[in-house]
Symmetry: C2
Subunit: 201 residues, 2 copies
Amino acid sequence: MESQDNNKVSGSVDGIGGSKGGVGMSTKVSICDLILRVLALLLTLAAAIVLGVDKQTKVVPFQFTPTLPLVNVEAHAKWHYLSAFVYSMVANIIACSYGAISSLILLGTLYRKTGLVQIITVFDLVMVGLLFSANGAALAIGLMGYKGNSHVQWNKVCNVFDKFCDQAAISIVLSLVGSLVFMALVAVAVLTFHKRFASRN
Amino acid sequence: MESQDNNKVSGSVDGIGGSKGGVGMSTKVSICDLILRVLALLLTLAAAIVLGVDKQTKVVPFQFTPTLPLVNVEAHAKWHYLSAFVYSMVANIIACSYGAISSLILLGTLYRKTGLVQIITVFDLVMVGLLFSANGAALAIGLMGYKGNSHVQWNKVCNVFDKFCDQAAISIVLSLVGSLVFMALVAVAVLTFHKRFASRN
């Protein structure tokens, strides 16, 4: 009975990682969580920076009216010309900021306050939705820029703005990997809650 | 000691909802889960159907070369002309099928097999990523169709194919609500695991 009572005290002090094994598991999971979180932060930060500095200027032949001859004009490509890229930028900045804040919270508490675990996991889930929708939007517009579409008569632009398109593609890939890391964070949390619960039964 | 042993037996039989209160909570959560799952199934099914039957034919004036006069030609708009809409269709069909399969599994077991809970929740999470990316892609292309973009010289097409665009918008809204329901399923699972775990400590 005495040993049972000791376990109970230990459980109430340590919160989720109540038993000795539980504390070890909790710390291990927190470090794994922290590494993934910092990785997501860096990836979304890199995606935002790569997209933020993405611009290209080219001289292209242009015909103002069918009767006038072709003239060379300077054409600019900037990320904020396309609303899908603006959305991608905003989503990556939000995800990056959230990654920094949640990492600091995690460092401060190392999951001792159990109430934070569920709040952070739900926010991670929101980041998954936000980043995946932004990646879908940026990828759809990027692909349209690469291939064009004859049905709606939208011509491809990446044959002219090749550097701009390549840089946007790198940003999308970085953001996609970042969103997969946020997804992994939620999956790890779900599997951990379950494993901890099962080990208690 | 006897009552403790009884609790242990009850726990091993009922799995997650081990105690009497736990069984009640498990059943309640399963019904809530089932309702949300069927709702997600119906929403993604409706989104796929609305998009699948989306087509419009219009007679529009067209000039083949600058020297020739305008002639009326028949123009068609179909959902499979745009790859973002094809992706949205595929994503909604996958999510709808998964919603049906997981609902049947849930009806069969009512969460008695605890291993299924985590697998289903992780798959729900994958559906969140899939649907949100598809919604982002469809919304980006849809908005381009409504507004156009002067920087890349992509003209709006929704002033011609108004019915087609309106129907695509309805499909996107249905799919968006469906993806939010899948997100709610993951959030409910995370909060439930946590609440059950906390109630055990």
